[in-house]
Symmetry: C2
Subunit: 192 residues, 2 copies
């Protein structure tokens, strides 16, 4: 029953354009573990869709094969909880195509919210984004792999979410962990 | 400066006794990605120590070599944020040895708090555990790999923490994601 409470939240895990360790703009490789972990976290918080975004055709095909294996192949029988997690996982070429796909599916343009380890003038607080979620507008959260989203993505996004403040100055969370914490802060709290 | 706010929280990632998919008690394999991810999350929330607990000598040696590589080997130069994350990571044989090590280091027995996807009669709320943390008693949080901690660990622990309620009934978070969410709920909130 509680499964029916589905928020209009979507995730995009972006592999280009992101920074590498040296601050250069690169295309990062898709990590299959990211796909599984983030799909499970997304399913836990009833996220409507999780897009794996990469311009590399071979990597998109890899993720499509992975999804196919767990949804319809031997994997579906072997591990049903993994199948269930991957039901909302999709693959796209770039951010523009992701937004187009969402417009087609939801009938309206989602608000884009970039995430990262730094605070910007247009950063918004978690509390503020939770309020927007409550109002029901579709929201696409953007997460960067590698050393984070390129500035162009942050500039073009409607909002940038406040970074996760831990205790102290260390801010090198794996993207998998950041997504788990952000969804918990935005969505689990709404329920309580 | 903020780095000085260090809570007396410790983590144990337990590889035996845990359940497998069939509900049998097994020793799960150490995943090196768990070690890196959880070390980064632990560092973010200024956790005092993170124990990788396994009875398998070869696996303990693997983790010790991994830590050595990133702390003192080429890795320390290649990726300093990984080095910093691993400073609090330790390896032990079993839960008893972990508690003994903590008594030796902290001068008192920690309160043990098991975690899992189910609620038990002795489960405590996050709010309640946050309050205990504020009072400053050392706390050892126990996390199970595989399909979760064996019942004996839950029975012997001083407390069991409430499960992470997402939205709906799906409760198959990766342990990496569960640790990120639990530390955020217990520790980041204290600061705010």
């Amino acid at each position: 029953m509680a499964d029916k409470i589905k928020s209009d939240i979507h995730l995009a895990l972006i592999h280009y354009p992101v920074y590498n360790k040296k601050g250069e703009t690169v295309t990062s490789s898709v990590t299959t573990l990211d796909v599984h972990d983030i799909s499970r976290v997304a399913r836990t918080f009833a996220v409507s869709s999780f897009y794996v975004v990469t311009p590399l055709k071979t990597q998109r095909q890899l993720v499509e094969r992975l999804i196919e294996h767990w949804l319809a192949g031997y994997g579906a029988e072997y591990n049903p909880t993994r199948k269930e997690a991957l039901l909302a996982t999709r693959v796209t070429n770039n951010l523009k195509d992701t937004v187009s796909d969402l417009i087609r599916r939801c009938g309206q343009k989602p608000m884009t919210v970039a995430t990262g380890a730094k605070r910007f003038p247009k950063s918004i607080e978690f509390r503020c984004l939770r309020e927007k979620i409550r109002r029901g507008k579709p929201i696409l959260l953007l997460f960067g792999t590698g050393w984070g989203l390129e500035k162009s993505i942050l500039n073009e996004a409607d909002y940038v979410l406040d970074p996760i403040d831990g205790i102290g100055q260390y801010n090198h969370l794996p993207v998998r962990a950041a997504i788990a914490i952000i969804l918990d802060r935005l969505l689990a709290r709404v329920k309580k």
